[in-house]
Amino acid sequence: MTGYAFAVALCVALVVFLLVLLRTRKLREKYVVAWIALAVGVCALSLFPDVLGTLAGWAGVQTPSNLLFAAALLVLLLVCIQLSAEITELEEETRTLAEEVALLRLDVERGLGQARPSATQGTPATTQLDEAPDQQQP
């Protein structure tokens, strides 16, 4: 029975940890839900271990713990796929932003280039104006 108590304690600790991450905005809600659901599920199995045996009977798995391992693998696989999908989305967003930055930069440079004929003539004058008050100050 102590083994089950240990498992329950571990799962409760995990849920608390996830909630802390969520509260401090270190983890977004859409990623936390799957983990919390999993932790709660494991808690339930720890409290009522006979359920696992029944489930294994239905699924045709002879050793109940193997059903648990298979389920754990499946969950981890799904989480990995979800993360890959999120990375793909992030890369697409990064790409769009990179293109936008380049387009804006070109617009800015062309704008500055068009303003340059007056600016280049005016630059020495303005620097002189800028320097003049500095010289007067001391």
Binding site: A98, E99, L103
Partner: protein
């Protein structure tokens, strides 16, 4: 904002670490097409590509902060073309293997009513040769895409392309950055959006830097990726074509 009567042409040159050859390509471009705007898209180069373009009087520089691949560079180019009201875009490689004199051929194809024009290597001109599995892969791509486009296409991986306003509107929104996305999948996207694709023979020159790989292993990988790219491109769900493109196409 009065629009000039002749169609405005923009030559887009995606460039990644091409500081050695690019000045020569740009000189040739401005010599052959003195009145055409040239936009070099620097695809996150680590060498002096950007400086080379800035130093050149006849070219604009679109400086991407990251390396996005040819597809990313070209979508940025198409977005620039769309925002600044260009009617035609011709894509030309920065490594000097495309002859700027052939731009006129590609543009002529657009004049004849093609939405997407391809400058093709294996269409009789030049002596460009490919052998082994790589040739089979290219043959497969050509066969499938010719069927999809309902026209004979011999060189689907060519980076020498022309696009009219309809194609620009489509590609500005949807131009894949994936492997083979800028060549094969973009053609499939154009076909599925109902655009007309045509090809014209062009000569390819020897690449100034690097040689195309001919190892069988790499060619086999190329074949596998080509098949995957085709399957994904032909089966993926498509957004409806941009409304602007449809309106422009209908008014012409």
């Amino acid at each position: 904002m009065s629009t000039p009567v002749p169609p405005r042409l923009l030559v887009v040159v995606p460039a990644w670490n091409e500081e050695a050859v690019l000045p020569h390509v740009l000189d040739e471009l401005t010599a052959h097409l003195p009145d055409t705007d040239v936009l070099v898209v620097n695809d996150g180069s680590t060498d002096g590509t950007a400086d080379v373009v800035r130093a050149h009087p006849g070219a604009m520089l679109l400086d991407l902060p990251l390396n996005l691949g040819v597809g990313g560079a070209m979508r940025a180019g198409f977005r620039f073309a769309q925002r600044h009201g260009y009617d035609r875009v011709v894509q030309l490689d920065a490594d000097g293997q495309h002859n700027p004199a052939d731009v006129a051929r590609v543009v002529a194809l657009l004049d004849e009513g093609a939405d997407v024009a391809i400058g093709a290597r294996f269409a009789g001109e030049g002596d460009y040769q490919v052998r082994g599995p790589r040739r089979w892969a290219m043959g497969l791509l050509s066969a499938v895409l010719s069927r999809t486009a309902a026209t004979r296409l011999t060189d689907t991986t060519s980076g020498f392309r022309g696009a009219n306003a309809r194609a620009i509107a489509l590609f500005a929104r949807d131009y894949p950055a994936e492997y083979l996305g800028d060549t094969v999948e973009s053609l499939v996207i154009a076909c599925r959006a109902g655009l007309r694709i045509r090809q014209t023979p062009v000569t390819m020159r020897v690449r100034a830097g690097g040689t195309p790989s001919h190892s069988p292993g790499k060619a086999a990988i190329f074949l596998g990726r080509a098949v995957l790219a085709l399957v994904v491109a032909l089966s993926r769900p498509m957004a409806p074509p941009p409304a602007v493109a449809l309106a422009e196409g209908a008014s012409r």
